[in-house]
Symmetry: C2
């Protein structure tokens, strides 16, 4: 009895499985250092079988990144749809995002140095940034509707908050100096943001 994929066929299930395992290996060793043999062994298939599912090593890597972004987007979607206080929602959003970032240090390194398809990466980043602004805006709008926030320019506020979040990401992606207390940092930046948008 094998797992069945989204569409119920074995192919998709296998594809998902490869993706899952490749993700682990890529995130551990980066793009250059992991070999297709590594992945093939891990999924208990022949190396050439991988080509039944993906066109190339880089193609596989891109698929992994793609899925990573999808998963993150999905998790954030859940956070956003929870019925919580707007401020808590903002905090949860930031924490969820940062938690994901913690696991992606090697991906970042790979993206910066190993990958040739720069266009693809730019595309993903851009898409994600737009998603982020959209999601933040939704939180803000809800906050206003619940009479907790007071915002005149949603676009501006969303972009500002996005930038502030970037400031939190930095110590996680670029060689971190000493362990960062995530919760504490988030609380501080959140306070500043809230100063700005809370009704009083």
């Amino acid at each position: 009895m094998h797992d069945l994929g989204k569409n119920g066929n074995k192919r998709d299930a296998n594809r998902e499985n490869i993706l899952k395992i490749a993700r682990e290996i890529f995130s551990k060793y980066g793009f250059k250092k992991t070999t297709l043999d590594d992945i093939a062994n891990a999924v208990r298939k022949g190396k050439s079988s991988l080509y039944y599912y993906f066109n190339s090593k880089e193609d596989l890597f891109q698929a992994v990144i793609m899925k990573e972004v999808e998963i993150l987007a999905h998790e954030l979607e859940i956070v956003i749809n929870r019925n919580t206080d707007p401020v808590d929602k903002l905090r949860d959003y930031i924490l969820t995002k940062l938690a994901t970032f913690r696991n992606l240090a090697n991906f970042y390194h790979a993206i910066e140095n190993d990958i040739t398809a720069v266009g693809f990466i730019d595309e993903v980043k851009l898409k994600y940034e737009q998603d982020e602004i959209r999601m933040i805006k939704r939180i803000l709008i809800e906050g206003v509707r619940k009479n907790e926030f007071e915002i005149y320019d949603f676009n501006l506020a969303a972009i500002g908050i996005t930038t502030a979040i970037k400031g939190l990401e930095m110590p996680l992606t670029a060689g971190h100096y000493g362990d960062v207390n995530l919760e504490r940092s988030v609380d501080i930046i959140l306070k500043i943001i809230c100063y700005g948008i809370m009704k009083r």
Copy 2:
């Protein structure tokens, strides 16, 4: 007629000159790629003469970084002591800092990859961060005195603003994707910050 250094003697003047030229070369080629010969030629001295002024290549590099930090601190000090509106002062502070960062991409790379004296770098960063918080706090205090800001926890506000600024630095230091409109970004983040601290 040669320039004379701070203390009027030739030694200090030469040291300063070496520092100035070494800075240019280091910032262009990074730490590993620049050789002492490069620098010696540029300052029109023999390679061994450099050892009259510095103990080692890394020592020279550290001195360059140190000076860089000093210059930045000095420039920021000037900005802070100007008699301007607090919000403008905050904007000038951020812009001045980011402008300096633009020129330091190679330094950053060197610091991340080439340098063995990690302790030294950590020290510099820490010192700078503390300075930054102190300077931001001074701006905030002045803003409150001028009755433009309304702040309950200066420490918290200063740390928050520092984090937000980091979000602006990121696209400058970590491989920038497309050119960033600095002034615009600063205005946006400034707006968010000001939302939070302005009296209304």
